[in-house]
Amino acid sequence: MLQQAAVGKEVALSIRGLKVVFHTYAGDVQALEGVDLEVHRGEILGLVGESGCGKSVTALAVAGLLPINAEVTAGEVLLDGRNLLEMNREAVRITRLKDIALVFQDPATYLNPVLTIGLQITEALTSDLKVFADELIAARMTNLQTAGTRSPEEEKELESLRRAKETHELNKKEGKRLASLRALDYLKLVRLSEPEKVLGMYPFELSGGMRQRAMIAMALVRRPRVLLADEITTALDVTVQAQILELLKDLRDKIDSAIVLITHDLAVVSEVCDRVAVMYAGSVVEVAGLVEFFSNPTHPYSKGLGASILRPDTNTENLESIKGSVPDLINPPSGCRFHPRCPYAFQKCPESKPPMTMVSPGHEVACFLYGG
């Protein structure tokens, strides 16, 4: 894979040739048409495109949360080299529990209104203590050991934790206690004020920004290898958005997870991402480093996107827009799916699908104008 060669970092998640079809009464929707994507540890990859281009479907397929009428017809989703699509149910469950986390756009919908924030954050940790026992014990021990002076009770606790560490087991009560302590740490990490109080609060008592922070804490508390953030700032105000984006950068550096930031806002991408992948009608059409993408967008669709964004820091006299609209994916256009809207389309475009071609190291594009 070309993308891998360009960046030296370890690949955490790799999607290869992923095809997803939705069976509907109107016909089969070809939602993903061979998606290739790689995400490295400690980076934020921006996944951009218009609504309906398959950004969210890609995330759902990785997390194994596709709706019942969806079918993965081809491809692989590799997490640390293991194909999630071929694992047995139990292995997938453990992987999802431990290594993959999703945060959605609207925290009001995804939080359970009748459970406290504390319970919702610790639920994942305590639902299967075998999976998290070692980690919970280790985290608490480190906290105690680095605290400096310890009270006699804390010495006692440390001793019992040492014993638990050898047996790799925690009883339910102990597990819950350690999980709450860890939840508290993560509420602090996402910079919620008065975290002790928030643990006992219900979602309706929090503002939109606070809920989104709680959702992020919930996702991070498991220290996932991959965090899929689907439009997490779209519903928020600019001031709160700025806070959440700052937080995301901070977390990338502290936790070293691979973060996929799904958004349609290129301004958000430019603020936090390290690399950009552009999707159009079910496939990735361009991948590039952030600066390269903004200075040298190559795919005609990326160029169109760039021309249709407004900036807060400059006056725009005439705003350009991409003609037409997103194609119908039940009967998608032949060949390159962008060709009916593309100002540069020529004879070859409707005939076959352009392969990914390297423009420069780390910069690839699927367009016949650049070979292929």
């Binding site: 600019v238 700025a242 301004a267 807060p312 827009s321």
Partner: protein, 337 residues
């Protein structure tokens, strides 16, 4: 009628929602959603209204349109007081004003064809004689917003978000209004579609000589669309000025904070630093003094005691701040990409 006369004038407009509690539903307090707003909108201009969610932007628009009754203050339209208008006068006001809402999925009736949605307001206001004239006007309007007359017999679910917003605009224009409130008309749309709709709105304004109140929380969109901009915080307009002036030299610390929070689509200008903390406080029991003091990096003891009156700092720039602060936005203004 001079070109620069003001079409809409708000004088100390207030909308308080009572909070009732207890067995007898006694009023225990008020949510002061709009609390003393005054500004004018000139004929033919686009006035921007920007602020965080919950600051009262939509309530202000609804009160202005008389969709809810104001608690106090005045709304003047072409110099006539509309605050207490009833019957014929109110109906006439409703014909001269129209609104386009944020979510075109919610604002169109799913069981009504496009034709029916567009012709209904004409019929209510007796603007057309007979079916043929109504259909003719509907066809004209649908072409005006860039759709095809064939679309008239279809239902909203057959359209994409951008197309639905075009239909909502056609419906708003059906009564030939002079004044249009655009409440976040593009925030649920993709960028490429947003560009199409914004350009359509600009063209319509020029051709039909419309006046807009453009509500948005997107500062880039406001900059593109609006001649003047009002910044709202917790029920009050804290700064009004020409859009260019606001973006180059804001005078209120809140305006400044908003501008500094707006993401810029340019990695070379990745910035940060001054990010204001916290959310908009609740508009119940607003403490005395300046409303922004809790989040303001420049606040002093004086801010907690004194209520800042609107001051004209430059011609046409009104600010509600006790201090004449020298604020710089961290991007170079006016530079073209």
């Amino acid at each position: 009628m001079a070109q620069y006369s003001s079409l809409v004038e708000l004088e100390d407009l207030r909308k308080w929602f009572p909070i009732r509690s207890g067995l007898l539903s006694r009023t225990v307090g008020y949510v002061k959603a709009v609390d003393g707003v005054s500004f004018k909108i000139t004929n033919g201009e686009t006035m921007g209204l920007v602020g965080e969610s919950g600051c009262g932007k939509t309530t202000l628009a609804r009160t202005l349109l008389r969709l809810t009754a104001p608690t106090g203050g005045k709304v003047l339209f072409s110099g006539k007081d509309m605050t207490k208008a009833k019957g014929k006068a109110l109906r006439e006001y409703r014909r001269m004003t129209a609104v386009v809402f944020q979510d075109p999925y919610a604002s169109l009736d799913p069981r009504q064809t496009v034709k029916s949605a567009i012709t209904e307001p004409m019929k209510i206001h007796h603007l057309v004689r007979g079916k043929d004239e109504a259909n003719q006007r509907a066809a004209d309007l649908i072409r005006l917003v860039g759709l095809n007359p064939d679309h008239l017999s279809r239902y909203p679910h057959e359209f994409s978000g951008g197309q639905r917003q075009r239909i909502a605009i056609a419906r708003a224009l059906a009564v030939s209004p002079e004044f249009l409130v655009l409440d976040e008309p593009t925030s649920s749309l993709d960028v490429s579609v947003q560009a199409q709709i914004l350009n359509l709105l600009k063209a319509l304004q020029k051709d039909l000589k419309l006046t807009y109140l453009f509500i948005s929380h997107n500062l880039s969109v406001i900059r593109y669309m609006c001649h003047r901009t009002a910044v709202m915080y917790l029920g009050r307009v804290v700064e009004v000025a020409d859009t260019a002036r606001i973006y180059q030299s804001p005078k209120h610390p809140y305006t400044h904070a908003l501008l500094n929070s707006a993401p810029i689509p340019d990695p070379a200008k990745r910035k940060r630093g001054v990010v204001i903390e916290g959310d908009v406080p609740s508009p119940v029991n607003i403490p005395p003094g300046c409303r922004f003091k809790a989040r303001c990096p420049y606040s002093t003891d004086r801010c907690a005691k004194e209520f800042p009156k609107p001051v004209q700092v430059r011609p046409g720039q009104w600010v509600e701040c006790l201090y004449d602060l020298d604020l710089k936005v961290e991007y170079s203004p006016g530079v073209r990409a």
